[in-house]
Amino acid sequence: MEIILTVLASILFSTGIYNLLQKQLLRIIVGTVLISHGAHLFLLTMSQVKRGAPPLLVDDVSSYTDPLPQALILTAIVISFGVTSFLLVLAYRTYTLNKTDNMEEMRGSDYD
């Protein structure tokens, strides 16, 4: 199970980075979303996807699920959700003001 999840995470990372390197704003945002999914999946995989009892204090339990990565992922998902929505609004404003969604045309060093 861990191996499948790791491969899936790596596919998400590679597609994410491919999209991140594109010129269109929206594709870049899709890239960051994919990378964040990959990172979250990776976090879950790293603690081993164990089955068994819930992590409660009960006698006679040898295998139980590790609760910490799930708590970490939940936090990370909320954060990346917030940042992505902000990034979408920012991209829209950037597009309306600069009249372009092409990163190639958003270079330059005029700071007004």
């Binding site: 870049i28 990378i35 964040s36 990172a39 970490l72 902000f86 003001l97 600069n98 007004d112």
Partner: protein, 493 residues
């Protein structure tokens, strides 16, 4: 007493909510922000005094003992930086109403400011690696809000890149936390410091350590990852640039200091010698950038980068004196970068242009601004007896003891070039014929200069009063070098 350690994070968070609710009544918000930030400053000052007298205070969130719950660690280093943060923040709050347009203030400047302070204080004080990620995100969220304040064309363009870089490095942060959790089974910093020694595959740990360094190096603007910094720090309003330049990159450097003196200290021959090379290149490239432009604000922005090189140098040398130098330089740099951005903001308002070639003779009309800027430049370059000198001499002494002669030469040379880049502003901008179109708003310029004067005064005190300050810094650096104090205060064994 222990619960007081949470307040430097919780109070700004509460103030942020209140400021967001009050935001329509701008005068009340201003007054509220000024009063609360002065109160916070006094409170944090008292807390710092207590900690320096009686040792670290460690708070465990929810009362869960250390490796299970999240620890908030108020050790001398953390509280010193929180205090410096609050000093700069208070100066910024008094600077803001004069430099921001009323519309910008109304668009949640004060709410975002308090959120930024909460995030920065949290990042300094947390004792948990994942919690560090969360506080990084809190301060970055606030900085995203602040950087777009004003809604300019170039501003949005550069903000987008800034958000992207930070988002990508945050994702790498999650990945490295995942690796560390897989290898050691903990994310508590003190617990990690204990466990890294017992890990079987030390090589993997070093590799993960370098991924984590990559994350912090992006935030701290270390060569070759600094290229996002100049453009995105030069576009926002001067008060926002001052907050960013004084606080944000320093959080990255603080994280490097914390992690590489506490956790990854087993392979210093690999990790710390890489730092020395990176420090050298950071100094060279930063100072070349500062000499390459005529935009006054960009010159100061580029000067953030060599300072990062100096602090990284101390971590790379990894001796108690060199670490003391890094900590001293860190504190000094926060204060002086804040002051310089404040003064540059005043200069740009006074001259009406950012281009050095179009301004001259500003000192004839605004002598206070001119002379304070001159002293600030000397402090930045590390001319004795000011605070930059104390930090630099500790670092150079550490470098000579370790026989890193090339590093010492580069450091000395880059200090000289920093002085040159700042003197260019002074010679071309302040000296010479009185220019046309110089602003007549004497009262406003004076009010804009005062926060800078206060911070420059503090920097002078850090230099001349070194005899009073240095013993504290020395005990901090010994504590960092020995490690056991931090570990035992968190884990309470």
């Amino acid at each position: 007493m222990i619960n007081l350690i949470f307040l430097p994070i919780v109070l700004p968070l509460l103030a942020s909510v209140i400021a967001a609710l009050l935001t329509k009544k701008i005068k009340i918000t201003r007054l509220f922000s000024q009063i609360t930030s002065v109160v916070f400053l006094i409170f944090v000052g008292g807390l710092a005094f207590y900690i320096f007298q009686n040792g670290s205070i460690v708070g465990q969130a929810g009362g869960w003992a250390a490796p299970y719950g999240i620890s908030i660690v108020g050790d001398p280093l953390a509280i010193l930086l929180v205090l410096t943060t609050n000093i700069i923040g208070t100066a910024a709050i008094f600077y803001a109403p004069r430099i921001l347009e009323e519309k910008q203030e109304r668009f949640y400047f004060y709410a975002l400011y308090f959120l930024l302070i909460a995030g920065v204080s949290g990042a300094f004080m947390t004792g948990d690696l994942f919690n560090l990620f969360v506080f990084f995100e809190v301060l970055l969220m606030a900085s995203y809000g602040l950087i777009v304040l004003g809604n300019g064309k170039a501003q949005l363009r550069e903000s987008f890149k800034y958000v992207l870089f930070n988002l990508f490095s945050s994702m790498l942060f999650i990945v490295s936390v995942a690796y560390i959790y897989a290898i050691t089974g903990t994310v508590n910093l003190a617990h990690l410091a204990e466990r890294v020694e017992t890990v079987e595959q030390q090589g993997v740990l070093t590799a993960v350590g370098m991924i984590l360094f990559f994350v912090f190096a992006v935030k701290a603007a270390v060569f070759p990852l600094y290229y996002w910094l100049p453009n995105s720090y030069v576009v926002p309003n001067p008060v926002v640039s001052a907050l960013f330049g004084a606080l944000l990159t320093k959080v990255g450097i603080y994280s490097i200091i914390r992690v590489y003196t506490l956790i990854f200290v087993h392979e210093t021959a690999i990790t710390h010698s890489i730092f020395i090379w990176l420090a050298m290149f950071t100094m060279i490239f930063g100072v070349i950038g500062a000499l390459s432009t005529h935009n006054v604000k960009l010159i100061v922005t580029y000067n953030i980068i060599p300072a990062v090189g100096f602090m990284l140098m101390g971590i790379g040398l990894y001796t108690p004196e060199a670490i003391a130098g890094s900590v001293y330089y860190l504190m000094h740099d926060m204060v002086i970068k804040g002051a310089l951005f404040f003064l540059i903001g005043a200069l740009v308002i006074a001259a009406g242009t950012k281009d050095l070639r179009q301004m001259s003779g500003v000192i004839q009309k605004y002598p206070l601004l001119g002379w304070v800027f001159f002293i600030a430049s000397l402090i930045l370059a590390g001319v004795p007896p000011f605070s930059g000198f104390i930090g630099k001499i500790l670092l150079l002494e550490g470098g000579l003891r370790q026989e890193e002669f090339l590093l010492v030469i580069v450091a000395l040379l880059s200090s000289l070039l920093i002085l040159l880049s700042m003197m260019r502003i002074f010679v071309y901008g302040f000296w010479g014929e009185l220019m046309d179109g110089l602003s007549n708003e004497r009262k406003r310029i004076r009010q804009l200069t005062i926060p800078g004067v206060v911070l420059v005064g503090l920097a002078i005190f850090l230099g001349i009063g070194a005899e009073f300050v240095y013993p504290q810094i020395e005990s901090i650096s010994n504590m960092l070098y020995e490690r056991t104090d931090y570990i035992s205060s968190v884990l309470k064994e």
